[in-house]
């Protein structure tokens, strides 16, 4: 059995760990608040943008004039933008995303489609570094501060690949933020763009376009990709902090439980020691009497 001093040391260690996890929990909570605010500020923009595109694309009869709207006849190579966090210690958050990515790649391979990865996030990069997967590019440090410029850079490179025919379809895999306790890895097809269809009631309006319908749509479509990429970055960022907060809360609770059991063992051991000493003293006194 462990000696008293060993147990005491362990209790102290557990206590210190719980202090750390508690602090990390609070840091994650405050970061979560910031990230959530950013996401909410961005949300109206994304929403309006989607409406715009929907309305513009609804009037298009022949999509073949727009490369970004036209599905390729044969899909042989697809590109996947995988968004994960840069840091760990957030429970199964990153693992869930990586498993989903693996599943996606396997499913595509079974169909005879080649997958090229673009990693956004250190965890994704590290994970696929030593695996037999084509990685075209990796970005890190995106989620510290989600910036419009990043969306444009990443989105731009994806569009380039699609237009040049190096990718027949482009997907994005990110963590969809449902609520604080629930995040869902989800795959969305970015290219070719499938605009959300409008309710038929909207069609009665005749819009005036300036400069022209075609020019506007051509101009808007790439921006739409940037917005999509940005939105998934925002959501993953919020999800990461939420997941870390939950994980650290769990860790703190586990520390408390562990501390309680250890304290119990400690007290029992201490009592056993005292009893033993008393027995010795009593035994000694009895022996002297005789």
């Amino acid at each position: 059995m462990a000696t008293l001093r060993d147990i005491k040391r362990k209790i102290d260690a557990v206590k210190k760990t719980s202090q750390i996890t508690k602090a990390m929990n609070m840091v994650a909570a405050s970061k979560l608040r910031g990230a959530q605010q950013n996401m909410e500020k961005f949300h109206p923009y994304a929403l309006k943008f989607r409406e715009f595109i929907g309305r513009l694309a609804a009037g298009v009869e022949d999509t073949s004039a727009y490369t970004l709207l036209t599905p390729k006849e044969e899909v042989k190579r697809v590109e996947l933008l995988l968004v994960t966090a840069d840091r760990g210690l957030c429970g199964s958050f990153n693992t869930n995303l990586l498993v989903a990515a693996e599943r996606f790649i396997r499913a595509k391979k079974a169909e005879g489609v080649e997958v090229t990865l673009v990693n956004a996030g250190r965890k994704a990069r590290d994970y696929f570094k030593r695996r037999p997967v084509n990685v075209r590019d990796s970005y890190t440090g995106l989620l510290n501060k989600v910036a419009y410029e990043d969306g444009r850079r990443i989105g731009g490179s994806l569009i380039e690949r699609f237009e040049s025919g190096e990718a027949d379809e482009v997907y994005i895999l990110y963590s969809h933020f449902i609520n604080i306790v629930k995040q869902q890895p989800s795959v969305v097809r970015l290219l070719p763009i499938a605009p959300e269809s409008q309710e038929s009631g909207q069609k009665g309006f005749e819009y005036l376009f300036e400069p022209s319908h075609e020019a506007l749509l051509t101009d808007l479509l790439p921006n739409y990709i940037y917005v999509q990429v940005l939105e998934s970055l925002y959501q993953t960022c919020v999800g990461e902090q939420a997941a870390r907060m939950a994980a650290m809360e769990n860790a703190t609770n586990n520390c408390k439980d562990l501390g309680r059991t250890l304290t119990l063992t400690y007290n029992k051991a201490r009592q056993a020691g005292i009893t033993k000493e008393l027995m010795d003293i009593v035994g000694g006194a009895e022996a002297l009497k005789k």
Binding site: K41, F42, P44, Y45, K48, F49, F52, R55, L56, Y148, G151, F205, E206, Y207, L208, F209, E210, P211, A215, L216, D219, L220, V227, L230
Partner: protein, 134 residues
């Protein structure tokens, strides 16, 4: 028919403005256009410039850094890359930016540099214009 317009300006960073106004004048790609209540549905690309709107007797100005505008049912939605009201603009920084852009235009060799510098100059000028109105 309503005699007011609901104006909303959103950018990727935040919702800049959402107000009920009487008239909106925005810098369209092909020239400035005005919107009064009862305007027909209209979609338009915006260039860098100044957006004005009147609320009762007061006229207000916003610097818009390019984007799109939509007019529908007496509602004007501006999707701007960036937008700043006069109080958001840092006059000193804008002036410095203008000087820098002017210098770059003078020095620029290739087309890309020139285009970029010119865009920066336009943004700086738009900002200064708004800031100086106040």
């Amino acid at each position: 028919m309503a005699d007011k317009i609901f104006l909303e300006i959103v950018t990727p960073e935040k919702k800049v403005l959402s107000e009920t106004v009487d008239i909106v004048v925005a810098p369209g790609e092909m020239g400035e256009f005005g919107v009064l209540p009862g305007h027909i549905p209209f979609l338009c690309k915006l260039k860098v410039g100044e957006l004005r709107f009147r609320q009762g007797a007061s006229m207000r100005h916003v610097a818009v850094m390019g984007g799109y505008a939509e007019v529908l049912n007496n509602q004007v939605t501006i999707l701007a890359t960036a937008a700043e009201t006069a109080s958001d603009i840092d006059l000193i920084r804008a002036k410095a930016a203008r000087e820098r852009a002017e210098r770059r235009i003078a020095e620029s060799r290739d087309k890309v540099d020139f285009a970029r510098a010119q865009a920066a100059l336009q943004r700086a000028i738009a900002r200064l214009k708004i800031a100086e109105r106040q």
